[in-house]
Subunit: 375 residues, 2 copies
């Protein structure tokens, strides 16, 4: 259902029934290290080059998420996926073997939000019973794509962030078969709703009850080493738009979690929100700040890359929602829209942010049907 | 509604209510030259560099498509858009001023099919009353991104294609308000259905009655100068999957129109289809072959680039469908998934193809409601 200017509230909130995180060695040494499903000790994953390594991260995360959802690849109807590299080559070579229809996406580091939004739209509408949304990044492929050769050992300003090596993947499953109004097909089979409920109970991590899709926001910043500042206006815009569209505010959420603003971007976001009389200081968290220990890991402002928010989601955010510690979270991956061509041509660095509303699924919903927002 | 393995038949087929094509000078000199809405005489469009020129193509095409649909930018809820450049910079800088929520897409030269598929899903499901799908390419930005500096004047093999300079954009509008079953919201207002019908009659070019989403197909070809051969297996797979999913064959279509296989790819596609006992020779057309006169324009195997199929669609295919000359068309933009990094690392060039079923809207449908496939 359309909500306001840019949001959707799902009538049949898609369920996240499996999530996997595959992380690099540095990420494994950080504060969330023991939460990841797999921590690779060799950041090349035994491959010939960094790009193949990133593809391997995707393949492992996709296969593990499907396995954890108790499914096989044949159960997944559509893939929604992307990465940071030119022409999405990590995705093209990472997901080929799955042989599943693919929608390739580019939203810079906001890609996980975009992939979950489109996946949830497809599942809620009944186009797909199950789909897989994922995003990856790799420190070494990103440095090669955007900055300097690793061996050059360039110095980084304190505003810079560290591109995370990792891939996060989630399996979205329809809640239509679980006694919800509007059930398609399944309603004719006696016991189908009951069997669907039993099938997903225990593996449901969260439901996606709505989304807020971001637009391109450009405040004219040109420093590609300060992406937190470049993305903060986009994060602000999407969060504020979410508040407007759903007619609520920060008090509606246990956490509002941005993708990779880092410390510099966080300060700017809080300032922008304060000007609109919203206080984010009690509810805001940033995946880039959580992923590393900046004091000991030399990551400066924090982590970044599509993989940053994707692995923090799979390993840390979703389990907290499943446990009911957080009842409702606004997950807002943030992307900086630049390429070496654009910044060498003197362009600014616009941002984009895609919001996804994640909610805890109460036990009673397995009996009575998954509730939509406002039910 | 899900159809078979990878297809959807829309219950409320979205209507294409506006289409625009902005083409470069060489495209303007080709066989379709007088069909384009705008032919740019200066391929730099008065901008400082080629990338800004491509962004300007997008901006012009988007604004013109919206205008031709009798709308303003505020009427468009979501954008689905992409281009060939690393990190989609033509799109980021081309669509920023529209200030419309954006889903950035990368499907190489199949992007127009991907953008129309996702746009149609959003409109059919009722998430969006109207959205805009577009894709662009520019000869000079693509040469810089993928090949050699223009001034180098490199020779090209006969299997190579010429990246089209152009942007095609279409406005998709919901048919839910037009007396269709399942009308949301509008049904409560007396006369709303009648007014919706009158509003779109005359500007409806076609309806999108279904889609078939492609998977990545790799036959191991490594020649980046023969993209037609690299993409032909993907085109074959999507067309064949469409036949399987809808339980029909080439006789169901007046035209099956691929994106940019060119002459080499076309031969391969026909051969593959013949092995499955399908004869495409009477119904197949390729946008890349139609766009240029290869004898006089030095374009070798044909045209390519996301913009190739997008401008041929807007200028030539849709008007033929609107006029009823073609009643049903399978539009299959095709993409080659490669980057300079992937082919310099010795990777193959996989392909992907996204199918969109376009149908003529009969006069009686404006009175009785837009028919879905099989109605």
């Amino acid at each position: 259902m359309q909500k306001g200017r840019a949001s959707i509230a799902f009538a049949h909130p898609p369920l996240i029934c499996g999530a996997a995180s595959v992380a690099g060695s540095k990420e494994g040494e950080g504060p969330l290290g023991n939460l990841f499903d797999i921590v690779e000790q060799d950041d090349k994953l035994g491959k010939k080059n960094w790009e193949e390594a990133e593809s391997e991260l995707q393949k492992k995360a996709a296969e593990l998420a499907i396995k954890k959802a108790g499914l096989t690849r044949g159960d997944i109807r559509y893939l929604f996926a992307g990465d940071l590299l030119g022409q999405l080559i990590a995705t093209s070579f990472g997901l080929m073997e799955l042989e599943i229809p693919l929608f390739g996406l580019y939203g810079a580091c906001s890609t996980m939000g975009e992939a979950m939004a489109l996946g949830a739209m497809a599942v809620d509408a009944g186009y797909s019973d199950r789909c897989l949304s994922l995003a990856s990044s790799h420190f070494a492929t990103a440095e090669k794509q955007f900055r300097f050769p690793l061996a050059y050992g360039n110095q980084r300003p304190y505003s810079s962030t560290w591109t995370a090596t990792g891939c996060g993947a989630v399996v979205l499953e329809s809640s239509r078969g679980m006694g919800n109004p509007g059930t398609i097909g399944e309603k004719e089979k006696p016991g189908a709703a009951e069997s669907a409920k039993q099938n997903v109970k225990g593996k449901v991590l969260a439901k996606i009850s709505g989304i807020t899709t971001g637009k391109i926001v450009d405040f004219g910043l040109k420093d590609s080493m300060n992406m937190g500042a470049a993305m903060a206006p986009a994060a602000f815009h999407t969060i504020w738009q979410n508040f407007e569209d759903f007619e609520w505010d920060e008090k509606a959420f246990d956490r509002i979690i941005t993708g990779d603003l880092g410390k510099v971007g966080q300060t700017i976001l809080w300032d922008f929100m304060a000007r609109k009389d919203h206080d984010l200081s009690q509810v805001h968290m940033d995946c880039g700040i959580e992923l590393y220990d900046s004091k000991t890991q030399d990551t400066h402002a924090g982590g970044s890359g599509c993989g940053c928010s994707a692995i923090v989601l799979s390993s840390y955010i979703l389990p907290n929602i499943q446990a009911g510690i957080w009842k409702r979270v606004l997950f807002v991956p943030t992307g900086a829209l630049l390429s070496t061509v654009s910044y060498n041509e003197g362009q600014s660095v616009p941002g984009i942010a895609h919001g996804v509303i994640l909610e805890h699924v109460e036990d009673e919903e397995f009996a009575r049907g998954v509730k939509a927002l406002g039910d």
